[in-house]
Amino acid sequence: MLKTLSEAKMKHNKRKQVEIWAIGGGKGGTGKTFVLSQLANCLASKGKHVILVDTDFGGANLHTFFGIKRNPVSIMNFFDKKVPLENLVLETPIENLSIIPGNSASVSPANINHAQKSKLFRHIKQLDADYVLLDLGGGTSIDTIDAFLLADRLIVVAVPEVTAIENLFQFIKSVFFRKLKQLFAKHGLKDKARNVWLNREKYEINGIVDLLDYLKNESRDLDNILSDKLSDFTVYIILNKVRNVREVQEGFSVKSVCIKYIGVNARYSGYIEYDYQFWRHLSLIQCSPGVTVSYSIKSDVMKIVDNIISGDQMRIDSLKNV
């Protein structure tokens, strides 16, 4: 009897293999939370069960996008009251879409230790949904990066401005370096990457690409580990608030720099147009969730979701006649 029960449970787990998407991007104000809410809307309208988790511990605002003014629960209850994560899921007026809101009432920034964090990540992976979308804060704090690396699909959002793109590169670099360190730690080479990096002048290493080349040349094992484990490490780039075609093209440049200067696989999944009317009415939309924001934004988002799911990207010759 016991065996069949556990078997049934295993089957259940297998059926609901949750896919985690994380949305980050370094700079604040690029529209990470907005893009996340739109992607979630799109997935939910396809009939997928979606749970959004606000992992922006210091500046949660995801609930505002869904018209929740006073959070009855928050992710902090998981830490200080040991409430199971399933009980913190709030239904939204949108079908198939629920959220775990973050803490907005706290007067001091949250301090979460490593054990708490890994417990949270473990529980997020066991949530009962098709997709779990993580909303991350700006900056490159270790909490943000760890939460980002938890995901199956790593999505970054930037606006076509130099400062945002610079921060985006810093973010991707930090994420990639953290990933490298984790990878080496798994293979008993804990301080390898760090040591080489600290002595980088000696080895004539300028950046992370040189570091990778150096490590690959050093030994066959490292080469195998790197090419094996990093091949599926892909960053999906979304440009937000794009005003003209030149800015659309900037996405290809950003992707190229990621590939050639940082050494990560990158895909340019799409862009969202700047909609003047929409930004004027943003406050209104936030109070009425599920409203079709703007048809151009909606179609942009649909393309992005399709691209992320299928692994396709923007075609560079689609902008030829400009």
Partner: protein, 185 residues
């Protein structure tokens, strides 16, 4: 020249494309990357410190090399494809015609199993023009000089004697087609 697979994949990688990429994609990617990496774009300047100067110069050479090698590869692939079509033509029994009319062209094409879209892709002639040539609807076609070029290309694609086909066809055009009377002004 046959290029080994490994090199080919490397070239696609340099241009950040999948091996399924079309030639127009390759071209666009090349022009974009070349322009971007030789410019003083702010997107690039924020990453200046990341790689050495020699490496960034090397990048440009790599992009250049990848494009020209792929261009070569695509053109050999194209001639290869044309050769295959010609072989296909040789193997089939093409009916003999006294005079090449639109109908004769159509019959030959159908015997060879070639679709109009295929010809249109290879020659750049719109499908409706090809259709009108076969049906001899001269009033819907552009003036005679154009028809002559279209028919030549059409015949060349089917590996027919293009000179003979064109002369035959133009005779019909002159007989039945609308007069473009230049003296009326």
């Amino acid at each position: 020249m046959i290029m080994d697979e490994e090199n080919l994949n490397k070239y696609y990688e340099t241009l950040e494309l999948k091996p399924e990429a079309s030639f127009s994609e390759i071209k666009s990617a090349y022009y974009h990357l070349k322009k971007f990496y030789s410019s003083q774009s702010p997107v690039l300047s924020v990453m200046m410190a990341e790689i050495s100067e020699t490496r960034s110069e090397q990048l440009l050479t790599e992009i250049e090399e990848a494009y020209f090698k792929l261009k070569e590869y695509y053109s050999t692939k194209k001639t290869e494809k044309q050769r295959v079509t010609r072989d296909r033509v040789m193997k089939k029994n093409i009916p003999e015609f006294e005079v090449f009319s639109g109908n004769a062209l159509k019959l030959t094409r159908e015997v060879l199993g070639v679709r109009l879209e295929e010809i249109s892709l290879a020659t750049g002639i719109p499908v409706n023009h090809l259709k009108n040539i076969e049906m001899e609807r001269f009033d819907l076609l552009p003036p005679g000089g154009y028809i002559r070029i279209y028919v030549t290309k059409y015949a060349e694609y089917l590996s027919l004697d293009s000179k003979r086909v064109t002369t035959d066809y133009m005779k019909t055009v002159n007989k039945k087609g609308p007069r473009h009377d230049l003296n009326r002004f």
